[in-house]
């Protein structure tokens, strides 16, 4: 009877004879955490990397610069807009989701332009007259730029319309949206933090 009871007895006791041997396992875990902390410390980012300088059309890079004429004949250069938050929107009048999001972009622009928000809507290789009719129909107030040979679309690797890039005050792409349609609240959600940054 005593033998049987003894066999069924459980005890709070660590194993001592395998991989989970208490002292060895504690030491191994302590070593792993210490090495991890050291690795983390020695791989800090240099301060110079705080602002990206390489230009690529992707989140985390500087926005590739471009100059394009607007419908009104004025030339806009992205680099001149440093200090402002810029939405670069690639679109075309024949693209349904592009048409759907234009009123939302305009509403967000009207509400936030005084805080430093700029929209550059880059039309993809269309006749200026068609773009002008579209602008009048939707009563758009932001600049519509004409990428007549598609060079800027290619520079930004635009593979689907609409495609939008949110550029911060330092000229860095902070977010992007492939496809649509963006709502006003979506746009304002994206730019709120960027506008608060100095």
């Amino acid at each position: 009877m005593n033998k049987l009871l003894k066999a069924q007895t459980f005890k709070l006791k660590p194993r001592t004879s395998n991989l989970f041997s208490g002292a060895r396992l504690y030491a191994a875990i302590a070593l792993v955490i210490t090495l991890g902390a050291a690795w983390t410390w020695f791989n800090r980012l240099p301060e110079i990397a705080a602002t990206p300088t390489q230009a690529q059309p992707h989140t985390g890079f500087a926005a590739p610069n471009f100059s394009l004429p607007s419908l009104a004949g004025e030339t806009f250069t992205l680099a001149d807009l440093k200090g402002k938050v810029v939405l670069v929107n690639f679109w075309a009048t024949w693209c349904p989701p592009c048409r759907a999001e234009m009123p939302a972009i305009d509403a967000a622009y009207r509400a936030n332009k005084d805080a430093g928000f700029v929209v550059l809507a880059v039309d993809q290789m269309e006749n200026p007259d068609i773009v002008n009719l579209f602008r009048a129909k939707y009563n758009l107030s932001f600049p519509l730029l004409l990428d007549s040979d598609g060079a800027i679309n290619r520079q930004y690797l635009v593979s689907a319309l609409p495609t939008s890039f949110f550029v911060d005050r330092k000229g860095v792409i902070r977010d992007m949206m492939i496809g649509g349609s963006m709502s006003r609240e979506f746009i304002e959600g994206k730019i709120k933090t960027l506008l608060e940054e100095k």
């Binding site: 003894k6 066999a7 007895t9 459980f10 005890k11 709070l12 006791k13 660590p14 194993r15 991989l19 989970f20 208490g22 396992l25 504690y26 875990i29 792993v32 955490i33 991890g36 902390a37 690795w39 983390t40 410390w41 791989n43 800090r44 980012l45 240099p46 301060e47 990397a49 705080a50 390489q54 690529q56 992707h58 989140t59 985390g60 890079f61 509403a107 593979s159 689907a160 977010d175 949206m177 492939i178 496809g179 709502s183 006003r184 609240e185 979506f186 304002e188 959600g189 994206k190 709120k192």
Partner: protein
């Protein structure tokens, strides 16, 4: 690089597709693991659905609360869900609470559910890494002289997405086939510690790290803390678990 898929007249961004694939993996592999652990597959699926369902709703509401001014103008936009408009932390918090509540109602051990989730979690991370490889996200630092570097964003770079993919597959294989399971919940803690450990190890090779205080990489610090907590809990439970005498 393949940021979008063209399906006839439709253009589908790849990133949300990889999230859907990751969810499918969580569900399928999770159910299989649940059966191995004698956990009813429908209970596992139910808990997963509650966690993700409540998580998405809470993430959306958290986002709405953060940008209330914009939504007051257009209240109907609250239900116009977009993956880019979610508050992930709020969603994770309430999703986990909902999952725990569901498991308690079904009288199923949370630790057992967590173990069933573990291999699937590693495999889902591998799917997301593959998605990053397709879209060019989570890119590596420049590496001009590396023989196996990949050309991405204008220069040769460390193929971090491939390293992560391989590491997550290895973790999946280890947890599925070999990992010791001295008590319920052990597989989950081991998986979390390994996933976090991979991030600690590979973060310096990433070109999109976000700087925190003193130049520390934010993701690396969070992963280090997570790894330490998982290992600490693992050891604490291990030493408190009753073991039959030899």
């Amino acid at each position: 690089m393949l940021p979008v898929l063209r399906l006839g007249p439709f253009t589908v961004p790849v990133a949300p597709l990889t999230w859907l694939a990751a969810f499918f993996v969580l569900q399928e592999i999770g159910e299989r693991t649940a059966k191995r652990l004698n956990l009813p597959a429908d209970v596992f699926s139910g808990a997963l659905m509650w966690t993700i369902g409540v998580g998405i709703v809470a993430a959306r509401l958290g986002y709405v609360a953060s940008y209330l001014d914009a939504f007051i103008a257009e209240p109907l936009q609250i239900v116009a869900l977009n993956f880019g408009t979610l508050d992930v932390m709020t969603g994770a918090l309430f999703g986990v609470i909902a999952g725990i509540a569901y498991l308690q109602r079904k009288k199923v051990s949370l630790r057992l559910f967590a173990d069933a989730l573990s291999p699937a979690l590693a495999l889902a991370m591998a799917v997301l890494s593959f998605g990053n490889l397709l879209t060019g996200d989570a890119f590596g630092v420049p590496a001009q002289n590396l023989p196996w570097a990949i050309f991405l964003w204008g220069e040769l770079r460390q193929p971090v997405q491939v390293y992560e993919l391989a590491a997550y597959l290895a973790i999946f294989a280890f947890v599925w086939f070999r990992a010791p399971r001295p008590y319920d919940g052990a597989h989950f803690l081991i998986t979390i510690a390994l996933l976090a450990g991979v991030r600690v190890l590979l973060e310096p090779l990433r070109g999109d790290s976000v700087a925190w205080v003193m130049g520390l990489r934010e993701a690396q610090v969070i992963a280090l803390v997570l790894m330490s907590i998982a290992l600490g809990i693992f050891m604490t439970i291990f030493h408190r678990s009753p073991k039959p005498m030899a």
